[in-house]
Amino acid sequence: MNDPTVQDACQRYLEDPEADPRHVETCAECRALSEALAAKADVDLTPISLDALPLAPWEGSSHRAWPLVLGAAAIVVAIALALCDAAGLSPLHVAESSLASIDARRGLLRSASDWLRGAPAMWQAAFGLAFVVVNTLLVVLLRRAPKGIDA
């Protein structure tokens, strides 16, 4: 350590460790110092290889593959139009059939509420209990924090 060139190297390393990271491999004193600092700061000194890390979900996610999107959309629309033409349907009929399914569900709902209105008090109480239990369970399940990114 008395050698002035070694002292200069140590000084340079202490001032800017990133400039000569190999110095720590040859100098026992600097290595001991950096290990002590790392232990104090609870830092892992082993170098991290980016390629060894698992691929993060956001990596490359902002890429917009327009040829794929437009191609797939065009193919699906072409198949839909061809099938509609072959079956003698208009796009309006597709919308009507969707609305019809909503109407059917609304009818079911109305008949269920009519049944409930005319049901004996025992059944109404059981329905009320089921309503409270299911919604309590929903609230309990909603209180759990999502863990996807941290999993």
Partner: protein, 217 residues
């Protein structure tokens, strides 16, 4: 090899399910020879409606992913990380929607039921749309997602949220066309989607309820 497995394993499972269903089905469920013309027309119309709705789903999925890709991705990650929780939450949420809708219908004569029912309907439809698109993303990522950085760098088209969503629409839409099995798969995907949307609060990852803490003296 792994990629081939990822593609062919689900296809093999679907094919095996179909063969098993055809073999195990009671005679009344088997095709009794040539289909009458009315049945053939009805089947074609049904297929045309399904594919048309699939096209609408694709436009909705692309639009929503462009608007809020990060939220869709968060929900997709959550579904893959805790699938059972999302499914359970979806089942409970759907049951809750139905029971609450019956209660609100019960309140229609008292005038307060109509706006409540309308609000519940809008919320349920938005939840289903958002959740189903998150399921598209999750399915697309499971089928065609990248596993390594080299793979990501090599790919030109099959990467990014938009591509994953489109792949998911095509895969689930293709499965939807299978008779009997398709609607069941689609319904299960809807339950998963509603659960995921609710679990992540539409991808915002915020708590639904404020936590109560006693004031420190």
């Amino acid at each position: 090899m792994r990629r081939a497995l990822r593609l062919f394993l689900p296809l093999t499972a679907v094919a095996a399910t179909l063969v098993t269903a055809m073999v195990a089905a009671p005679p009344s469920f088997r095709l009794p020879g040539p289909m009458p013309i009315e049945d053939a027309v009805a089947t074609m119309q049904n297929t045309a409606v399904i594919v048309s709705l699939l096209a609408i789903w694709m436009f909705a999925a692309v639009g929503l992913t462009l608007l809020s890709g990060r939220e869709i991705r968060y929900s997709s990650i959550e579904m893959r990380a805790s699938a059972l929780h999302c499914f359970a939450l979806g089942l409970v949420a759907v049951t809750s929607f139905v029971l609450t809708a019956i209660v609100f219908s019960y309140l229609i004569p008292y005038h307060v039921g109509v706006p409540l029912l309308f609000a519940l309907g809008v919320f349920a439809i938005l939840t289903k749309i958002y959740g189903t698109i998150a399921v598209f993303h999750a399915v697309g990522t499971l089928v065609a997602g990248t596993r390594t950085r080299e793979q990501l760098a090599r790919r030109r088209w099959l990467r990014g949220d938009l591509a994953m969503v489109v792949v998911g629409v095509i895969v689930l839409g293709g499965l939807r066309l299978i008779p009997i099995v398709g609607p069941i798969i689609w319904a299960l995907a809807s339950v998963f989607g509603i659960g995921t949307a609710m679990a992540t609060k539409f991808g915002r990852r915020e708590p639904w309820f404020l936590a109560w803490r006693a004031v420190e003296s």
